[in-house]
Symmetry: C2
Subunit: 537 residues, 2 copies
């Protein structure tokens, strides 16, 4: 079932033929070793399919589903993991002991329903699979002896924009469409969803909706949630199709129950999505602050001013330097407005005033509205974007060098932020030093709300051969405990999956857990859908 | 349990000593008669408590709850109905055959839990009651023989702002706080919730949340939903308390399940609400259009421009004339921006350009930003606001004159709007003529989204003595059928209650109904909470 031409890595991020070359990886290794004060890093070669020993499938699809099912080693290996640090470490270890038994590639909604029907009758667990970019164990086959086997349900063939409504600026889009395919089909209409998570190239609309993905906009419409106009979901007990509406107050929102349901309630097959005209005006500015706290105060002022910048990302000095946006001494705020309707000078001017009020410094020409053509935009913005989108390749290379890496993200109210940030940094840095010896923890704000920021932390630390997973787990636990204790959420946009369960279970109100479990039992009485993710049931 | 001093009408809207005087009512009657071409209207005197025959209570609160319970005729009568046309007609008929047996006035969350515990054990239905402003039968005691009796649970004593976080601009507020009390407590902090439904004076925070109330803002933050940061809900099986977070992607939103749950899942006792600084800049303009369709095109352009006006209400020629904003020939768009942060001229200038593109006409000075002091604002805006808030008194007077009145509201995507509007107007006008002979149907947009408007229709028609309810029901059914058939929602912000059930049941996806019923069974196993509202269970 492999696609002709370019093939994706079965063991990590992206295309087989992309990512840093061996020579580039050596250079990266030297740079990282220097930054962490290590003598050298040792590179493990990535796994080859012929090195992988997969257990034989425990089940086979019935004859009527055979045309859409595969038990080929490539397909099973490629659907064994998501793309978290933990996943890639296991892949480098050639550990593929728990692959799905079957991978199904439905061509349409009828196929999806047929797979669910078979699975319900045969006690087979079903793991809905979009782009496979989960970093929280969200697409990993459960190890649960109640089930005869596991089928990974890959929505990749449902990749079309089915209908475009230019008057309402909305489109009906199949859930398996990857970011680039979706945008390509919208482009002729002058429209865009503008949802650009870092996983953009290898994540799908359905995955974004199932995980409440965080996207392009740093303020206002931060999650995919607000762009969902209507949903179509195949559940084991029938199709949930909500009505296209710009707004409604008719009972609790049906869409909102499925937003963030991570495949446990049904399989999202299509959605009407709210779009926007492709921006033609753009104003961007880079503002430096003496420290992160001063930048945070400016972000708060901007977020509470009702200006709604598209970008409002604050990098700490280390992250700023790494991104080529600072000297390592100053925090940097990347500020941008965009519009298809109007020049943005008044918006930017006021945002820069807010920044200046808190000690922000910027160039005299900063923030001027540009009406650059598509080609020009692709020049400068394109380079940054390429680096942003290539970061996961780099991460995989670092894993291969035996390092410990992790990103974790959260949100917290402004009143709590200073103490929260201190507690999380201390807990995480202490854990890094304790379990890794050398390493660093950095922070940025990816999104900002009137009532609080969404801080995003990055860990890079020295690993011990054979102990990377244990080291990672100890750091992850320390960070997660601190987040929960200091009033944050265990995830702002990476989802819960299996990895965040221990903390999600404590964050989530118990009566809501009971309601969610009851809803699942009503829609999925056999409990076949992504068991172990979000809840036990 | 009546409050000392001013007392609310038990039979209709507002204070006993407010509303139009008999002389004013006569003038109103003459004006309406002229408008509808009637000879005269006959006024029925409103009911007096001593005219009302209430059935004896079927149950009594246990001794431990006696201090917070009342079976006084005033309390029982005042909690028999909401404030819909249908409610007021029945009140004028002196028909109070189905009052609650007991009215409970909990002082705190512990009292709420105690009432639910008693009711669960005693098979007593519980109707959560905020301000009693429901226009959809949402606070009416069920007539359901499975229950020994009905208690109306009046949250009015839980009326305090408990905590204010000025850094995050948020406050913890008890659910029973009426609009004015809530704003009064926030004012010293320079903050405001700015949620001003027409029911503002006699509706509560908890009621707004339970019904997904539509508020002040015509764009962007149209419903109360987006302002809810965290919720505290007492269910029969425990307290649901969600965490204060500016944003989260940790599973489906717990708050969103309770937003719009209309009292069937639990009793909302408090919420952390997102606030804003009290606006100091305001820009307003009135734009006329040759017809409603041209105005609608302008509203679409403005809604899709990313400008987010606070007001963007389009009145058809008749409504504009009634509001004193037109000559009855032109549609009028009321446009306003407001901010506590910045002058609004660029925003307004671009919105007026959009309006002009579609033939809108406005005065040369229109839209200038004013930085008027609080006192000045109360002058002009205060007068309009008083008229807006007094409208329900007027409606009750019209009911007493034997007229048939109804307002219904919806939302629909822009592509469908022209055909939708034609179908709804035709169906409703035909029904008015068929069942009432004379009458009128008018429209405005109360809220506007990038993907569609929220049209709000008003019916005023001649009634036949003794047949008002049947006439209303036929018109309501015709309008509702048209809304559903043409792709709208049965309610954008009036809620479902009992009155909208037949259409809500068809609008709501069946699997979502199953999930909601299962969630209710998990939280309220005895099914005592507002039975018959939203779902059968």
């Amino acid at each position: 079932m492999s696609v002709p031409g370019r093939r994706r890595r079965f063991w990590g991020w992206g295309w087989e033929d992309a990512g840093p070359s061996p020579a580039q990886q050596e250079a990266i290794g030297r740079a990282v070793a220097a930054r962490l004060g290590l003598d050298a890093v040792h590179m493990t070669p990535p796994p080859r399919l012929e090195e992988i020993a997969l257990p034989p499938p425990r089940i086979a699809a019935p004859a009527r589903l055979a045309p859409i099912c595969s038990a080929a080693p490539y397909d099973r290996a490629a659907h064994t993991y998501g793309k978290s640090f933990r996943d890639v470490v296991r892949a480098y270890r050639r550990d593929f002991r728990h692959p799905p038994d079957v991978v199904a590639f439905p061509r349409d909604e009828v196929d999806v329903a047929a797979v669910l029907e078979w699975a319900t009758g045969a006690h087979v667990a079903v793991v809905p699979y979009g782009g496979g970019s989960s970093v929280v164990g969200g697409v990993e086959p459960p190890r649960d002896e109640r089930f005869a086997g596991v089928v990974s349900l890959d929505l990749g063939r449902l990749d079309r924009v089915l209908e475009v409504d230019t008057a309402s600026r909305a489109a009906r889009i199949q859930a398996g469409a990857l970011g680039p395919a979706l945008e390509e089909q919208l482009r002729p209409h002058g429209l865009t969803l503008r949802h650009f998570p870092q996983s953009f190239e290898f994540s799908t609309l359905g995955g974004w909706i199932a995980t409440r993905s965080g996207g392009h906009y740093a303020t206002l419409y931060t999650h995919i949630d607000d762009f969902v106009e209507a949903l179509r979901v195949v559940t084991p007990t029938g199709v949930m199709a909500s009505r296209r509406l710009p707004g409604s107050g008719a009972g609790p929102s049906p869409e909102r129950l499925f937003l963030g349901s991570e495949g446990i309630l049904g399989v999202i097959v299509e959605a009407w999505m709210r779009l926007t005209a492709r921006p033609t005006f753009r104003a961007a500015a880079s503002v430096t602050f003496s420290d992160f706290a001063a930048g945070a105060a400016a972000v708060r002022a901007i977020a509470q001013a009702g200006l709604y910048p598209a970008n409002c990302r604050l990098l700490d000095p280390t992250e700023a330097a790494t991104a080529g946006a600072g000297d390592g001494q100053a925090a940097v705020l990347l500020l941008a407005f965009e519009s298809a309707d109007h020049p943005l000078d008044p918006w930017m001017a006021r945002a820069l005033e807010c920044a200046a009020d808190h000690g922000g410094r910027f160039a005299p020409e900063a923030g001027r509205t540009r009406t650059s053509s598509e080609g020009e935009r692709e020049g400068a913005a394109g380079a940054w974007r390429r680096a942003f989108l290539d970061a996961p390749y780099l991460r995989d290379a670092l894993v291969g060098m035996g390092l410990v890496t992790e990103t974790f993200e959260t949100a917290v109210t402004w009143d709590r932020f200073p103490a929260f940030h201190a507690a999380v940094m201390t807990a995480t840095t202490d854990a890094v030093h304790r379990v890794c010896g050398r390493g660093q923890v950095t922070v940025r704000f990816t999104h900002a709300y009137p009532d609080g920021p969404a801080p995003y932390y990055t860990v890079l630390a020295a690993g011990r051969p054979g102990s990377q997973l244990e080291q990672w787990a100890e750091i992850k636990a320390a960070a997660s405990e601190a987040i929960l204790a200091a009033g944050g959420t265990i995830t702002h946009h990476h989802a819960v999956g299996r990895d965040h369960r221990p903390w999600y279970d404590r964050e989530r109100p118990a009566p809501f857990a009971a309601a969610l479990a009851a809803a699942k039992a009503a829609l999925d009485p056999a409990g076949i859908l992504n068991p172990g993710v979000l809840i036990d049931a």
